[in-house]
Homo-oligomer: 739 residues x 2
């Protein structure tokens, strides 16, 4: 054999061996490789998000809205129950449904007007004759207002009774308003007419009663809702402005959730407190009226004229009363408020839908909106429900086609009885408190999805900011810019860290996120499209809670073409997918640093001098904030290192748990024993005007007023509560092996 | 080229290619296979557990105990600080230390006797002469009792003052005892002498004060502690019995943790309540004495003889008083209780040690014991610390040798100031509340590790039962049986599910597990060796909290050879390793079914008739228990299916989270607003004798006494609390995608 043949053979053999090695190693799947290994490290699919957004369809949203608004669907009425079935069948659809959908019911205390004896406001002359009665219903501008199922205007949970006395005008019914008024007029036994705005609905009556007022009338001033316009030719159906007969209905109580079962789900086994034990109700009758009726009352008042800031747009000088001008038709007359509401326990349904997570089914990304309305509720809440149904249709289709399954479970909620005070969502949060607090990544609320079609409006806690920014940068407006850029041009702030960015608002207790945020400590956000404040100063969209909040109104004046609905659907759905599918949760816990530093600075500026004189030091609060900041840096370092190497799924879960549970570290159920459900040390309700830790701000306000040692001790206690919360939050983010 | 050459070449090539394929596929590690894939699915290593147990050394435990008991080491004294350093350096040792060890300090309110003015009990005759003074110190039986650092007997936090009056004998100082006594004697202005036992230490004085008693003397009756023996020749140093001069010291307050900072860690930033705001203290002075002194007082009492069950073993008839027999040397004399304690804020250290988990570092298995004693504390607590140090030595050695690292992190705690009311552990639980509740798998407490050398004694919540059984079956006794079999022969019960098994006791608030169980809702257990009740009825080991609890006493009378210490170390260490290393957590959540069914049955038997008449139904409680049982079956099915296939690490984590968090579902911080720290709906403190849900039992007791509607409403409320807790627990165990 020639040497070259030997060399050739050896070389050839080596090549074959090498080929075998390569093929065997790379091309033949190894049995020992766990089947799940790839799945657990899959990150969010940007192409899928693009596809999702493309498929969110404005026409379908419009169709959804048309179906949802056929009838008034007040909580627990037949029309509400019909919508329960509409949503259930949508979520159980074999082509675009979810993995599972159920109705979950609670027996909750609601309040309705009596069909047979309508509430009213009357003027009664000294002889006992009735010379004026408020409208029983709004004017019949379209077929919609003729629907026999429209509930007459009322305030749910306002106590029954007849209150009769001289009328006074009390501006917005704030404590300061009654204080001012009482310096001029003896309010004992009077009836106060107040306009919406400035303070919570029921607080107007609670405040009034403290000054001796015995009945309250609430109306909507054209100044506040209609940019001053009150002429019927300028209002709906000719514009989006509220017609003169429009009346804002609403819940009339301070605390949310079923009033008889605080902290426990309203189930068959649940002990119910007595109605007399309910806290935060009005002690006096109250009734809402439209500005047409309000004008008749206010423009006939006698007494000194109200100060300039109290004047409205009814086209007359607002006098304070008490009573009517001698020259008017109502001379010497009294005003009567007659309320005949019925409180009753009703079965209210939430509809719950779920898409099972593939890798982490025990992590929930929640998305919800309420279903019940006051009348047809085209904007509130059906604009949100129409969007939610479109999001679930697109995702459900992908799911049923086997093209997608989220990493984490997605839970959708169509809440019942929100208008009566966040009832369905609160009962749900109570029933599943234990597992929701352990497993929920975030809650996305889209209630009113479009207030107006000018700009995105997002509210949320700090960790939600980043993902909303990311999503809104990917959504185009009809004008060709991005939702993000348009938003930034309309509502912005300068962030120490990021420079000029859109302004994210804070969450109060205005919609169903409240129990999730305040009681459970879940990162929450609320997403909508809203006004251009250069164009309107309306307090809210003018048809809010009236019989004019209809499909006709929405499609003509709020969002013709439904492109704003579509943008909200794309943005919120994008956020949802990032939260459900990202390998590392897109929760920007570092963004709490700005909140905390701002809170600290506010406390220092406003309180430090006085606190020093009481030997209470803010220094430990400052260190706590610094510790929090440092913990964020450590965590970011850990995440960066993770991304640079192939890492274990349990390391990723560890980090995700830190991110998910960060918001929970701010929860302290013992912090505010007098505030039902409010346990979030950063976001609890606050009376003080200083935007810092609410417990600290409110006790400080009290202590400076009383200057008692006990009250200063309470300031110190609340400072401890704040420091402890920030320290706990830092500890949650620090290395888990730090002791 | 010949055909055979071609064939040979092709064949040879094929062989080489095949060899390459095989080698490439099987022998060369694949880069795409994640390096963590094997590690995440590794289960507990039974060989390692055997090796660990083998290496737990009785001689080393003995050496540890000798070192720990050189001096009295009351919390925050120099000797306690020395032991902080001893443990720190043990845990930082380069050959057998942990990954990290730190001291963590809190500034807590403690109470000490005044060295210059000793507390005492005196007899003062009508002329004002002192005719008897209680011993200042225990008799000097060995060198140990001569130590100048021994604190004179006292009751920590007993209020200062001088109380003077006629002496009465009040048995154990229970409410029923004072009730009985007050029917015979006017107690106003009297001094009561009571024996230890029957009720909590401080409750004797709280009860006494309610009947007009102004001072309390507490002593240990030989009947209760010495099986009746009181002769110095029958007691230590001749036996384990308490010498006549022995005095049980102790904490004298109802609530645990630092008294000035409830719910918050006692740090520099923490607001401190006023001493006058502390709840659960004695309102009257109190002092403990030995039975030698007690005999002088009791055997001279006049008045009617006490009933039989009140008689003790002092060798005389116990009369009730008031005052002394006319024939005695104390005729007409008063008794005086003089207390001069000093309350002071001290810096107390916990020593924390950690072994970082390899796979799930964010899961903590905790093991702890306190470090501080009342005197030398050989049994209480150093027997536990000696064992803990040996466990960490063996594990630390393996760790430093690179032979082992646990799957989960192991956190060791040497708590400060337990004797003053679980202070160190409570402050730790408060400081890290947020992350401990999210991450802690279980807490193992080994305080007194050996009360006596007869049998294992374990207390714990239901999920701990199985792992303690497993461990104790693997530990041999010196007699050749297993710890488990020996235990079962001494303390057993018949379980509906398992038949005859050892009896696991319930956890009260007697040691450092209390904050972890009651406030955090962590599965807890307490492990020790204990008495043969056929041999002794001693209330506790007789040297408890006296100057005779020394190394000499422990090594001669409690555990000669230290083999019981060794068995406890092996059992507790085995449990620790199973909790830290098992793939699926060995927490038997199904074992709560027996607890819950038993609770339900007790409620039905004792309450149902009356509840029915008040329209309160127990049926929803029964369904809740059934739901819990069913949820356990579902979870067991999921676990079984998991074990049958190669499963994803995140599925295992999901199940482990359900198991870990089950106990947390029973926590309700709003359930018992008047009971500091008690939030566990199953295990909160209970006054009623009916062993069922404590809130239900206690409100029922109250309602049957008052028969007021309000009190029956509270029964209904507490029934709701119980049902809600069981429903929440079931929900935690059910399929995570169930909505």
């Amino acid at each position: 054999m020639n040497w070259w043949k030997i060399v050739g053979g050896v070389l050839g053999g080596a090549v074959l061996l090498a080929a075998g090695l390569l093929i065997g190693h790379f091309a033949i799947p190894k049995n020992t490789e766990p089947i799940w290994a790839k799945e657990v490290s899959r990150d969010v699919d940007e192409e899928f998000i693009q596809e999702f957004m493309k498929e969110v369809d404005n026409k379908r949203i419009e169709d959804n809205l048309r179906r949802l608004t056929l009838k008034p669907h007040v909580a627990t009425t037949a029309a509400d129950e019909e919508l329960v079935q509409v949503i259930l069948s949508h979520w159980r659809d074999t082509n675009h449904g979810l993995d599972d959908a159920q109705e979950v019911r609670y027996d909750v205390l609601l309040s309705f007007p009596d069909e047979k004896i309508p509430n009213n406001v009357r003027v009664v002359n000294p002889e006992g004759s009735v010379t004026f009665t408020s409208r029983r219903a709004e004017s019949e501008i379209t077929q919609d207002q003729k629907d026999p199922d429209i509930l007459q205007p009322f305030l749910a949970f306002a106590p029954n009774g007849t209150a009769k006395g001289k009328l006074v005008y009390a501006n917005e019914g704030k404590v300061s308003d009654f204080q001012h008024l009482s310096e001029k007029i003896n309010l004992t036994g009077t009836i106060a007419i107040v306009r919406y705005g400035g303070t919570g609905r029921v607080n107007k009556a609670i405040n009034a009663a403290q000054y001796g007022v015995i009945g309250v009338i609430i109306y909507t001033d054209p100044k506040d809702i209609n940019d001053g316009k009150s002429d019927p030719n300028q209002t709906y159906p000719y514009s989006w402005y509220m017609p003169p007969s429009g009346v804002e209905r609403g819940s009339f109580k301070e605390n949310f959730g079923d009033q008889l079962t605080p902290y426990y789900p309203a189930k068959n086994f649940t002990y119910r407190i007595k109605e007399s034990e309910i806290k935060g109700l009005s002690p006096i009758p109250a009734q809402p009226i439209g500005f047409e009726d309000a004008k008749t009352l206010i423009c006939n008042l006698q007494g000194p004229p109200a100060i300039d800031t109290w004047q409205g747009s009814l086209g007359c000088t607002y006098n304070l009363g008490p009573g009517f001008q001698p020259s008017s038709e109502f001379s010497s007359s009294d005003v009567e408020v007659n309320v005949y509401n019925k409180r009753t326990i009703k079965s209210s349904a939430n509809v719950m839908g779920i898409i099972h997570g593939s890798v982490e089914p025990d992590r929930y990304v929640m998305y919800g909106n309420h279903r019940d309305s006051w009348v047809h509720g085209a904007i509130d809440p059906s604009s949100g429900t129409a969007v939610m149904m479109e999001i679930t249709r697109v995702l459900g289709t992908k799911l049923k086609q086997g093209k997608w399954r989220p990493r984490r479970s997605i839970v959708f909620g169509s809440w019942g009885a929100e208008e009566f005070g966040l009832v369905g969502s609160t009962e749900f949060a109570e029933e599943y408190y234990s597992k929701l607090k352990d497993r929920t990544v975030a809650y996305i609320n889209v209630d009113i999805s479009v207030f107006a079609n000018a700009s995105l409006r997002a509210q949320g806690t700090a960790p939600a900011q980043g993902v909303i920014f990311t999503a809104s940068k990917q959504v185009k407006t009809p004008q060709g810019t991005t939702v993000y850029e348009n938003w930034k041009s309309k509502y912005n702030r300068t962030s120490p860290q990021y420079g000029l960015i859109p302004q994210i608002g804070t969450l109060g207790s205005g919609s169903d996120y409240a129990p999730f945020l305040h009681y459970l400590g879940i990162t929450c956000m609320d997403i909508a499209y809203t006004y251009d404040r250069g164009v309107t100063s309306a307090r809210i969209y003018p048809a809010y809670h009236t019989a004019f909040d209809t499909f006709d109104y929405a499609s003509k004046f709020i969002d013709p073409g439904f492109t704003s609905h579509q943008m909200v659907g794309r943005t919120a759905g994008n956020v949802l997918l990032r939260l459900s599918d990202s390998l590392i949760l897109p929760l920007g816990v570092r963004d709490y640093v700005e909140t905390l530093e701002d809170y600290y600075n506010k406390a220092e500026q406003n309180f430090q001098a006085n606190l020093n004189s009481k030997n209470i030091s803010l220094a430990p609060l400052k260190s706590a904030v610094e510790r929090y900041k440092k913990a964020c840096e450590t965590l970011e370092e850990t995440i960066k290192n993770l991304k640079e190497m192939q890492e274990a799924p349990l390391k990723i879960r560890m980090i995700n748990d830190q991110l998910m549970l960060l918001e929970r570290a701010f929860i302290n159920h013992l912090a505010f024993p007098d505030k039902l459900y409010y346990s979030h040390v950063i976001w609890a309700s606050r009376s003080s005007g200083v935007a810092t830790f609410p417990g600290l701000a409110d006790t400080y306000l009290q202590a400076t007023a009383s200057n008692s040692q006990h009250d200063w001790d309470m300031v110190h206690h609340q400072l401890t509560v704040a420091i402890y919360a920030v320290e706990s939050a830092a500890s949650t983010l620090e290395l888990v092996t730090k002791i």
